[in-house]
């Protein structure tokens, strides 16, 4: 291949994601970070002049304790997620072809319902007078006055529950390609089961493991909604603090300074660290356990949708009234339509951009790609509150009126990184000679991509697209900032309902959506079987 063609290819693959993230992420974010050097104005704005006072204030307010707590909780979350995700991802990848996508969907579909509603369901499961507690007491594992919630353990549970799919998808994408005969070969050559796993399988999917670790650990550092709901009065994380600074204290400079510190700290691993990984066995049982873990709150949610109680902690009788009421709620139906439209659109666009970005990152190792990687990676770590604020300021500065379009642009921006990292996991050890051979045999660039490259990448693209859809359909914080009048999405409405309204409507809606999804999966699977 001549150098000019590679050069053109590299730019073609790099430019879309790089330009997108520069405009919608890097520039607005740097503007917001610069606010850290401006004095605060008590009305929530920024005063004139420049100052270093905010940075000096950062050694107070117990930040050291909060930072340490955030760090260890996120690290434990990441370790637990990997421990569970390796066997699950591997198990799905090794399942019979026709079951593979069904399993993948079974794992991911619970996450299409509102995370807030699922966390509420966990509270029902872990109720101080509930059956889990009684079971633990009966087994001698808990005292009658032990509290299962409002401690660090509950925060970790909620975090693992939230982030586990982020770990499963890249590991699946990497493991699907892994050649199982390598393990058999190692066993034949005298390796123990464990040796074969540690020496052959783990290195074979190292990119997937790395992506999984990053996709859990980094976003966990900045998260605050779940910790807020199940944590106790002493479990505040850095994400809670940043949200408090923006909304309650109305001190933007302080929030910007905290976020900049967090971002810098999380960029440290980019300077060369490698992920060290854990192990596990028994894929089938862990898939089963993971599914139970995922569907336990879903079961509560479905049960509560038929519960006459508005608050859903206790059973007060069977009722269909929430379904009847749902049919009259045009506000909710419109919010649902908005959410679906955006999630599908953003997932498609982010998948295209992210896949191209992953190809560029994998194929070339130039200085351009190093900058490109930093740009792809940073959105994972920036706290959502700041990202939402920076996008809103960008749209206002450009005179773009807020609408569904601005939500779409914002969602694509935060989804690209996730897709790119998942597809990247898939690309490990990819043999580019096949594509070069195709092109040498006269295939056009497009034909080579479509006929040689895409089929090899497909599981990674599916996993990335699913992740993007999942992130988009449940995003609240960023969406809230960039949503225009008349473009309320389902999570925005749910957050307001949790404060002020009746969550059972959401249980009924989620139950219907889950039912429709499962019917669609089942129908398309039987159609596909016929087709094959």
């Amino acid at each position: 291949m001549d150098a000019r063609r590679t050069w053109a290819d590299e730019w073609l693959a790099t430019l879309p994601s790089m330009a997108w993230l520069t405009v919608f992420f890097a520039v607005p974010l740097l503007v917001v970070f610069a606010i850290a050097f401006r004095p605060a104005d008590p009305s929530g704005g920024v005063a004139e002049g420049w100052t270093l006072d905010t940075l000096r204030a950062l050694d107070g307010a117990g930040y050291a304790a909060i930072a340490w707590r955030t760090l260890w909780i996120s690290a434990v979350t990441a370790a637990l997620c990997l421990l569970a995700a390796v066997p699950v991802g591997y198990g799905i990848a090794r399942a019979e072809r026709r079951w593979r996508h069904v399993l993948l969907l079974l794992v991911i579909v619970p996450f299409w319902t509102s995370s807030l509603v699922r966390i509420f369901a966990w509270k029902v499961v872990l109720h101080p007078d509930g059956w889990v507690k009684e079971l633990l007491v009966a087994c001698g594992l808990a005292q009658p006055d032990t509290l299962l919630l409002y401690n660090a353990g509950a925060v970790i549970l909620a975090q693992v529950y939230t982030f586990l799919p982020f770990a499963i998808l890249p590991i699946y994408a990497a493991a699907e390609k892994f050649d199982r005969s390598l393990i058999d070969a190692a066993r034949d050559l005298g390796a123990t089961r464990w040796q074969a796993f540690a020496r052959v399988f783990v290195p074979g999917i190292r990119r997937g493991l790395l992506a999984a670790a990053l996709l859990v650990f980094i976003p966990a550092l900045g998260s605050y909604v779940a910790p807020d709901l199940v944590g106790g009065p002493g479990n505040e994380l850095i994400g809670n603090k940043i949200a408090q600074r923006v909304f309650v204290d109305r001190n933007l400079p302080h929030a910007a300074a905290l976020s900049a510190c967090l971002t810098l700290a999380a960029l440290a691993p980019l300077l060369g660290a490698r992920g060290a990984m854990k192990r596990s066995r028994l894929p089938f049982y862990t898939i089963l356990a993971a599914l139970v873990f995922f569907y336990l709150p879903i079961a509560v949610l479905v049960a509560n949708s038929f519960n006459a109680s508005r608050y859903g902690g206790t059973w007060t009788g069977f009722s269909l009234k929430w379904y009847a009421q749902l049919a009259r709620e045009t506000v909710i139906l419109r919010a649902l339509a908005n959410s679906l439209l955006i999630a599908v659109g953003a997932a498609v666009a982010a998948t295209v951009l992210g896949t191209a970005a992953a190809l560029a990152l994998h194929r070339w190792s130039s200085r351009l790609q190093r900058a490109h990687y930093a740009l792809i990676y940073t959105p994972l770590v920036v706290p959502e509150v700041l990202m939402g604020m920076s996008l809103l300021l960008l749209f206002v500065a450009l005179g773009v009126s807020l609408s569904l379009w601005t939500i779409f642009l914002a969602h694509v921006t935060f989804c690209v990184s996730y897709v790119a990292l998942v597809v990247l996991a898939r690309l490990q050890d990819l043999d580019f000679t096949v594509i070069e051979a195709a092109r040498d045999l006269g295939a056009t660039r497009w034909q080579a991509a479509r006929l040689a490259l895409l089929p090899m990448l497909w599981p990674g693209i599916v996993a990335g697209g699913l992740l993007a859809f999942t992130l988009s359909i449940d995003d609240f914080v960023i969406t809230f900032f960039v949503a225009g009048a008349g473009s309320t999405t389902l999570p925005i409405h749910i957050y307001s309902m949790i404060k002020h309204g009746s969550p059972p409507l959401i249980n009924a809606l989620s139950t219907l959506l889950l039912a429709v999804t499962f019917i669609l999966v089942w129908v398309s699977r039987s159609l596909m079987e016929k087709h094959e």
Binding site: S43, H500, M528
Partner: protein, 350 residues
Amino acid sequence: MTSKMKWAAAGAVAAALTAGLFYALLSPARPVLHFYTWADYIKPELVERFEREHGCRIVLDTFDSNETMYAKIKAGASGYDLLTPTSYMVKLMNDQGLLQPIRRDLVPNLKHVDPEFLAVTIDRTMSHSVPYLLGNAGIAYRKDRVEKFEPSWTVFDRADLKGRMTMLNDMRETLGAGLKTLGYSLNSRDERQIREARDVVIRWKRNLATFENEAYKSGIASGEFLVVHGYGGDMLQVQRENPNVLFVLPKEGYVICCDDLVILKDAPQAALAHAFINFLHDPQVAAENSVFTRYRCPNAAAYPLLPEDLRNDPILFPPKDLWARGEIILDLGADNAKYVKAWDEVKAAR
């Protein structure tokens, strides 16, 4: 393309079409009033009635806290006409020049607004805001599970209820409870008083399950929590389902909170917004809305139209001496920082 890719593409197209169809069916064609408010904060039939009478559409968007809404509007988000922030936030928004004056000639029904309530509020002349619904913050408890309950903030000192009580995750509400317990105003600007209140709240914190603004409603209904600090309207709704939940206003004093109707300075449909405010203060409409939301609309002409149980409810209509101990939270401007500091210390304390 492989068959799998075709299926995925077909799936994506089908989903987009469904959503698009939904959207087309539900999207408006008449003049549109954008009402930015809390969820379930207006009776849906009233919205429909106004739409019919004025040949318009009302699009409801929802926010989940005054602070997030303010951060968004302050940063320049526009397109909304009518909002329902809490009065302390109204003051701040007005100071920032975000609101337009109320044109009295367009809202004749303002004559029904309760003067007794206007006397304690911030915008007493209704120059830029009109009170919408009125509530209060106090304590709810399970009468079947808590013995010897006193209507006092000091219930949070009870070690026998450790881990089964919550207070609001709200710096002004919770430090305010501390201030009231000490006999101070909950709008105190005195650093010493705020420090004392901080120490009270730190003492309470050791007995709390958590600071919490959302799940306390389901928590008290299900018995997960036995005593919670929360809002009256919400608690009356819980009580309708579980009569073991009782709500009280603490004897030391409590927060009166009122959400006001305000029109944004750059509202595209200001005239329609005025008409809607007038509609909401029609006594019949106000009464109907109160019955739906279980909040009191401070509309004197609507009170006699309320059903007996609401009219005699001591929470919605506190007796005179208790009413006098309620206070409205004011925005303290630069003195806000004193509360921020105290609240940070509460959160960091062990």
